[in-house]
Subunit: 264 residues, 2 copies
Amino acid sequence: MFELPTLTVGQYSLVYNMLSFTIASMLAAFVFFIMAQSRVAPKYRISLMVSALVVGIAGYHYWRIFGSWEGAFELVNGAYEPSGEPFNDAYRYVDWLLTVPLLVVELVLVMALSRAKQGKLLTKLIIASAFMIALGYPGEIADDNVTRAIWGTASTVPFVYILVVLWGELGKAIESQPERPRVLLKNIRYLLIATWGFYPLAYMAPFAGLTGAGAEVVLQVGYSIADVAAKAGYGVMIYAIARAKTDADGWVKPEQVTGQEATA
Amino acid sequence: MFELPTLTVGQYSLVYNMLSFTIASMLAAFVFFIMAQSRVAPKYRISLMVSALVVGIAGYHYWRIFGSWEGAFELVNGAYEPSGEPFNDAYRYVDWLLTVPLLVVELVLVMALSRAKQGKLLTKLIIASAFMIALGYPGEIADDNVTRAIWGTASTVPFVYILVVLWGELGKAIESQPERPRVLLKNIRYLLIATWGFYPLAYMAPFAGLTGAGAEVVLQVGYSIADVAAKAGYGVMIYAIARAKTDADGWVKPEQVTGQEATA
């Protein structure tokens, strides 16, 4: 547990508004992924369902983080001082423990591989991503940088393993996809790296001596942006892939077919 | 940050009730846009989904603004004095950052242009509208009018660019639409100008020396009316366009087709 710094009104409000921005984004994405299911072929709908779960879970956690942030500070003489209530940043770990495995599930499901291939890939990726989060947690709550470094390193092993699977086995499966989905699937792996890459950087901030008000603000704003991109933005890309695959499959909505016949 | 004024009971209640009116309008519009999807041809439903997201996001933010307004004042000897809690007007900016790009998305999507044309128009308009909002924010929270004027002017550049695109490229695309949707599309652009025009006027109020209780009330009531018109009212017009295009396409609901056969 690190001591909370005293924040200016501007610093406090920036984090406050970014947390609220994230709640709004996650809730809107939740509604969209549920409604957008009807726009893709039935076999891709499970991916959109999982996307909805991810942003729904994240929306819940940001609601909690927002409340915890509000309670952890109080306005005294024009500055936000720690109120004595702890700011429970661990909501993020609980969130990742649930959402990170689901994010790899989304990606594998939208490819609609054979059941045997899909099962093997999912098992590997789900176990690795759960280990990645669980191993990072003891370091995050540790007071000293040595414990932090040890657990952080342990957590890097499954992280690297996930990247190997995504670029190895999943890479081969991506090559067998139709053209437009193939391009999108390659792009989404980069989005995944770019957004997931923020978390280890934030984790290492204390090693670089980055503490105090400025670091806290950068951390909270960075986490919010990374989470919106890695969950809502990522889900929109999964939707785009599902749409492209729906087109490539030549699937047409039943109501569209009936409608056209009626006017013929 | 401007100091909050002391308000009469009437002034406080007027804003309070307008904020609640806006919450009710946005929630009702949310439910309507979701239900009304089945009344338009499948290709226009995405527009109605986006309309639902816009009013849903706005409903969330007005819920927060309402709570913030309640907390920022306390009744002392028959007048509403500032309680010391800040009134977080920045929720409006967070809201616009999400909803303004979506409003132009609605408009482009309901036209059902070719995928290439649509993609180009959307990219331009989304980027310009995000810049418009983001550039206004530093001026809005600034204490001095010079900073306010500089950022306000910067924000006007993308605003003018959006108007040029709507009347230029989009204008050409509108001309190729069937008659009834064409008229509605031209009207909706005027609604957009009229409602969006309120925001820069409100932004400039401090330059005209409009501060204090009266100005605060006019500002909050004005924002609420502008938001209901620009989001819920605008969405209803998008629905009308989608209906007109559905008719022009000769699309008939599958259930209606079956119904006709049954009574034949």
